[in-house]
C-alpha cells in the first residue's frame, strides 16, 4: 500500500495504517533531525513529535496529495520552531566544526579512499553549521533523497528557489570546508 493509501486509511479512522507509516518514517525522520542537530535524543523526540503531528492532522489530508513532502514539511516546521525556542538558544548554538566532527559517527562510507572518507565525515558534520536555509535543502536533497519537486512542496517554495539554494548551499559548504577535493570517487546513489 502506498503512503497515500495509508494516509487515506488514517483519514477514515482506520488505526491499522499507523504501524506501516511509523515503520517507514520513524528512522528516516530521526536521521533527518540528527543531521541538523547532532543530538540523538533531541532527534528522537522531534521525530516522534513529527509523527504525532502527522497522525493528528490526518483529517486534513487530501488524497492523493504526496505524503513524503508533507511529512518533511511538518519536520521542517518542527525544526524551525525548535530553533526559535529557548531550549535551542540556550543549549546549542551552531557547533564549531571540530566539535561537530567529534559526534558519534555511524562509520566510514564504503569507499577505501581515506581522503574521501574524511571529506564525507566532515561534510556531514558541517551541514549543521550552515545557514539554516542552505542546511535544510542540502539535508533533504542529499541525505533524505527528496527530489527537487518534493523539496519545493515540503518547503512551499518555487522549484527555482530550491535549485538555487541547493547549488549555492553546496558552494557555501565547499568554501566552509576549504579543502581540495579528489575527483575520482565513485558517485553514490540515493
Amino acid at each position: 500500500m502506498t503512503d497515500e493509501d495509508l494516509m487515506r486509511q488514517l483519514q477514515q479512522g482506520h488505526p491499522d495504517a499507523v504501524e506501516p507509516l511509523v515503520r517507514r518514517y520513524h528512522k528516516p525522520l530521526t536521521a533527518y533531525f540528527y543531521r541538523l542537530s547532532h543530538d540523538y535524543h533531541l532527534a528522537q523526540d522531534l521525530a516522534q513529535e513529527c509523527l504525532f503531528r502527522l497522525v493528528s492532522r490526518a483529517g486534513q489530508y487530501q488524497f492523493p496529495r504526496p505524503v513524503k513532502p508533507w511529512v518533511y514539511q511538518i519536520a521542517v516546521n518542527l525544526w524551525r520552531d525548535h530553533r526559535k525556542s529557548a531550549a535551542y538558544r540556550h543549549g546549542s548554538a551552531a557547533l564549531p566544526l571540530d566539535e561537530a566532527a567529534e559526534m558519534p559517527e555511524a562509520g566510514p562510507p564504503p569507499d577505501d579512499d581515506v581522503a574521501n572518507r574524511l571529506l564525507a565525515h566532515e561534510a556531514l558534520a558541517a551541514l549543521q553549521a550552515l545557514p539554516p536555509h542552505f542546511a535544510e535543502v542540502l539535508v533533504l536533497r542529499f541525505c533524505q533523497c527528496l527530489t527537487v519537486p518534493e523539496i519545493a512542496a515540503a518547503l512551499e517554495l518555487p522549484e527555482g528557489t530550491v535549485k538555487s539554494r541547493i547549488y549555492h548551499g553546496l558552494r557555501h559548504l565547499r568554501s566552509r570546508l576549504s579543502r581540495e577535493v579528489t575527483c575520482d570517487g565513485q558517485p553514490a546513489r540515493c
Partner: protein, 210 residues
C-alpha cells in the same frame, strides 16, 4: 489542489482558452465571464472531457490524464445544460449514476436520500424526470454531482432557474472541508459575496480577481 499549467485549448482552429494558469485550493471559487468567454470549455477541460492542446491540468502535481479514473472517482460534475434520461424516475436516475460512480448501493441510497431531503426534492423521488421543472432537474443534476462526496466539484451554471432558498441550500452543500469547488456563472448577482476566490474569464484569458 487543482492546477492549470499553461492550459491552451484550441477547438476548430479557434483558441478558446489561452495559456490559462492558476491554482484552485479548498473552498468555493467563482468563475465568471461573459457568454463565449470559455467558462464551459474550462470546466470541461478540468473534468477531463476535452484534452488541452497545450499545457496540462494537474491534481496534486500529477496530470489528470495520467490518473483519470482515480480523478473521476473523486470528481463531481454538472454540465451547463442539466442532462437526464427523462423517462427515468429521480431515484432511478440517481441509482444509475451511483452505480456508474462505483458507489456501494446501500450507502449510495442513503446519500441520495439525504441530498434529496437537503434540496427539498424528497417528495419527487419517484416522479419521472420529464415531469419536473427545469429548476428541479437542475437540482437533481446537482445531487448527482454530490453523490460521491467529491473532493473536486465542477458546476456549470448551477444556480440558474433556482429560487433564493434553493440557491442558498446549494451553496451550503458545496462547502466541505478540503473540497475544491469551481462554480461557473455569468450571473454574478445570484452569488452571495464572500467566496474564497473569484476568477474571471474573458476571451479565453483568466484573471484571478481575489
Amino acid at each position: 489542489m487543482l492546477e492549470l499549467a499553461d492550459v491552451t485549448v484550441r477547438l476548430g482552429g479557434v483558441t478558446v482558452l489561452d495559456s490559462v494558469r492558476g491554482r484552485l485550493g479548498p473552498g468555493v471559487t467563482l468563475l465568471t465571464g461573459p457568454s463565449g468567454a470559455g467558462k464551459t470549455t474550462l470546466l470541461r477541460t478540468l473534468a477531463g472531457l476535452i484534452p488541452p492542446s497545450a499545457g496540462e491540468v494537474r491534481w496534486w502535481g500529477q496530470s489528470i490524464t495520467a490518473q483519470l479514473k482515480a480523478y473521476h472517482r473523486r470528481l463531481g460534475y454538472l454540465p451547463q445544460r442539466p442532462a437526464t434520461y427523462p423517462e427515468m424516475t429521480v431515484s432511478g436516475f440517481l441509482d444509475y449514476l451511483s452505480a456508474l460512480k462505483a458507489l456501494p448501493p446501500a450507502l449510495a441510497a442513503r446519500r441520495r436520500d439525504e441530498l434529496l431531503e437537503a434540496l427539498g426534492l424528497s417528495a419527487r423521488a419517484h416522479s419521472a424526470l420529464r415531469e419536473l421543472s427545469e429548476g428541479q432537474r437542475r437540482l437533481v443534476g446537482i445531487v448527482q454531482a454530490l453523490l460521491g462526496d467529491p473532493e473536486v466539484l465542477l458546476l456549470d451554471e448551477p444556480l440558474e432557474s433556482l429560487d433564493g432558498d434553493s440557491r442558498a441550500r446549494v451553496l451550503q452543500l458545496c462547502h466541505r472541508p478540503g473540497r475544491v469547488t469551481l462554480l461557473a456563472t455569468h450571473r454574478l448577482e445570484l452569488v452571495p459575496p464572500g467566496l474564497v476566490a473569484h476568477w474571471s474569464l474573458d476571451a479565453g484569458r483568466l484573471a484571478v480577481e481575489s
